[in-house]
Amino acid sequence: MTDALQRARRPETASSDPGPAPAAPRGSRRARRRVTGVLKHMGLIALALVMLYPLLWMVASSLRPNDDIFTSPGLLVDTFDFDHYPTGWDALSYPFSTYLLNSFLVVLGSVIGNLISCSMAAYAFARLRFRARRLAFVLMLVTIMLPIHVLIIPQYVFYAQLDWINTYLPLIVPKFLATDAFFIFLMVQFIRGIPRELDEAARIDGAGHLRIYGQIMLPLMVPALATTAIFTFIWTWNDFFTQLIFVTKPDLYTVPVALRSFIDAQTQSDFGAMFAMSVVSLIPVFLVFLFGQRFLLRGIATTGGK
C-alpha cells in the first residue's frame, strides 16, 4: 500500500520516462516536456477558475448593491454593500437563524442515527455468522440503489397516520433504522480490513460481541465513522426532496426549504439578499469540506460514494 502510494506520489521528473532510448538530444526533449507541463498547468488553472467562477461571483454579488449585480460579470466589488446579509436574514417570516438551527437539528439527529445504526448492522454483516446472512446482505446492497420515489408516497401516508408530518421524525427516525445502507456497506468494507485476531483475542479473554463492538471495533472504526458523519452532514444539509415533502410549516423550515421560499417571495426584488442567504447556507458545507476533506476523499475513493 505505502509502496503504491510512493509510486503514485513520485514526481514527474523523477519517474524514469520509459520509452525507447532517445535518439533526439536530451535537452530538447526535456524542454518540450517542460512546455507541455506548463501548458497543462495553465489549462488546469483556467479550468479551476471556470469551475469556481459562479461561486465567487455569488459571493461578490452578495456584497454589491442590487443595481450592480447584473451589470458586473467581474469579481471585483466597486462599492461594498453589506446590507444584504441583515436584510436577507430577516426577509422571511422567521429570522434565518431559525432555519439554520432547524437544519442543524435534523443533521445532528441524522448523523447520530447513522453512526449508531449503520455501525451495528455493519458489525453483524462483517463479523457474525447467522441464518440468511447472504440474503440479508444482498437485500442491503439492493436498497442502496433503490430510488426514494418508489417509497415516498406510502411513507408519507404512513407518517401521516403516525401524525409525524411537520415534525422532524420522518427525517431522523429512518436514520436510526439504518436506511442509509450505503454507510453500512462502507463500514463493512472497513471492518473487513481490521485483523480478526483482535476480536479473537478479546473473545478468548471472555468478551462478548457487545463489548467487542463497543470497545474494540468502534474505536478502530473512527475513520469510517468520520466519513459517515461527514457525508451524512452534507447530504442531509443539502437534501431538499424529503424536507420539502415532510416539512410544510414555516417555523419548521430547514435551510433548503427556506431558501426555496425566497424565490417565491422575492421574485422581482432583492437578489442581493437572496445571494447573501445562499452564501450563508453553503458555509457549513464548505467548512466541513475544508476540515473533513481527508475523510471525504478516502470515503469516495474506497467505496465510490455519490
Binding site: 461571483w57 453483524a124 455468522r129 444482498v138 437485500l139 469516495i300
Partner: protein, 314 residues
C-alpha cells in the same frame, strides 16, 4: 471494492459452507438479531412495507382524504394517453443520456491528466471536487437561475462581445441545457473515484509496455482503459441511477413547474406534482413504479453490456 463488485462476486460465488442451519452458519443468530434489529425494522417498515403498499396504490385512485379505491389497470391506461408523462420521459431520457456520459468523459479526462504525479495535485483535486459537494443544494440551483437568467452572468459576459443572449433558463430550447451543464459541473466525485482507480494500476505494466515500444496512446488504450473499465462501469451505473432521480435543480430553476413549456419536467418532478400538488397519490405511485422499472431495466442492460467491455482480471 465497490458495492457493484461485491454484488457481482456474490452472484457468481457459490455457498462456501454447508446448508443453512449448520452450527457454523448460525452460531451467532441471537446476537446478530440484536445488532441487526434497527436495520431489519427499517427494512420492513420503511422500505419493503412502503414498496408493497405503493405497488397496491398504483392500482387505485387515492387522494389521501378518502380510502384508496381500486381501479384496476386504469392508472396504467392513463399513462399511455398522458402527454405530460411522455414529455417528462423525453426530458429525463435526454438529460440522462447526454449529461451522464458527458460528465464521465470530463471526469475521466481530468483524472488522466492529474494522475501522473502532477505538482499541486491535491489542490487541483480539491478545487475540482468542491462543486460536486455543493451541486445538489438549493443555493446552487438558485445561483444557476441567475447565472443563466436574462440579465445573468452568462449574458453579461456575452454583452462584452456584443452578443445579446436569451434568457437561457426561460427558453424551452436551452433550459434543459443549463441543467446538463450543472450536472457536468459536478464531475469532481467521479473524478476522485477514477483517480483512486488509476493509482491501483501497477506502474510496472506501463514500464513493460514502454520497453516493448508502446506509445502513450497505445498504453492508454491497452492498459489504462481496460484496467479502469470496472470503475468506469461503476460510475456509469451510479450516474444513471442518480440522474434518473434528479429533482432539486429542475424544481428550483423552474420554480416547481418543470417549465418553460415542460422543458425541464424531470420525471421525479412530475411525480412530485402528481402526488403532492394534485394529490393523485394512486397515479403517482404508478409513476414511481414506472421509474423503478425503467431504472432497473437500464441497470440490467448495463450489467448485460458490461460483459463486452468491462475487463475483470480476477
Amino acid at each position: 471494492m465497490s458495492a457493484l463488485d461485491e454484488f457481482r462476486s456474490i452472484s457468481r460465488s457459490r455457498r462456501r459452507t454447508g446448508p443453512a442451519g449448520t452450527d457454523e452458519e448460525t452460531r451467532d443468530n441471537k446476537v446478530a438479531a440484536i445488532f441487526l434489529a434497527p436495520w431489519l425494522l427499517g427494512l420492513l417498515a420503511i422500505t419493503i412495507g412502503p414498496m408493497i403498499t405503493s405497488l397496491y396504490l398504483a392500482f387505485t385512485d387515492y387522494n389521501l382524504l378518502q380510502d384508496p379505491k381500486f381501479t384496476g389497470l386504469e392508472n396504467i391506461r392513463r399513462m399511455f394517453t398522458d402527454d405530460r408523462l411522455a414529455e417528462s420521459l423525453q426530458v429525463t431520457f435526454t438529460y440522462v443520456i447526454v449529461s451522464v456520459p458527458l460528465q464521465l468523459v470530463v471526469a475521466l479526462g481530468l483524472a488522466l491528466l492529474l494522475d501522473r504525479g502532477i505538482r499541486g495535485l491535491s489542490l487541483y483535486r480539491s478545487i475540482l471536487y468542491l462543486p460536486s459537494l455543493l451541486g445538489a443544494s438549493v443555493a446552487i440551483a438558485v445561483l444557476w437561475r441567475l447565472v443563466f437568467g436574462a440579465d445573468g452572468l452568462v449574458n453579461s459576459f456575452l454583452d462584452i462581445f456584443g452578443v445579446d443572449g436569451p434568457s437561457w433558463v426561460s427558453d424551452p430550447d436551452t433550459a434543459l441545457g443549463t441543467l446538463i451543464i450543472l450536472h457536468v459541473w459536478t464531475f469532481g466525485a467521479p473524478m476522485v473515484i477514477f483517480l483512486a482507480g488509476l493509482r491501483q494500476i501497477p506502474r510496472e505494466l506501463y514500464e513493460a509496455a514502454a520497453t516493448d515500444g508502446a506509445s502513450r496512446r497505445r498504453q492508454l488504450l491497452s492498459i489504462t482503459l481496460p484496467l479502469l473499465s470496472p470503475i468506469i462501469f461503476f460510475n456509469l451505473v451510479l450516474g444513471l441511477i442518480g440522474s434518473f432521480q434528479s429533482f432539486t435543480q429542475a424544481f428550483i430553476v423552474s420554480n416547481g413547474t418543470g417549465g418553460p413549456s415542460d422543458s425541464t419536467l424531470f420525471f421525479s418532478l412530475y411525480l412530485y406534482q402528481e402526488g403532492f400538488t394534485s394529490f393523485r397519490m394512486g397515479y403517482a405511485s404508478a409513476l414511481a413504479w414506472l421509474l423503478l422499472i425503467i431504472i432497473g431495466a437500464f441497470t440490467a442492460l448495463n450489467f448485460w453490456a458490461s460483459k463486452y467491455w468491462v475487463f475483470y482480471h480476477d
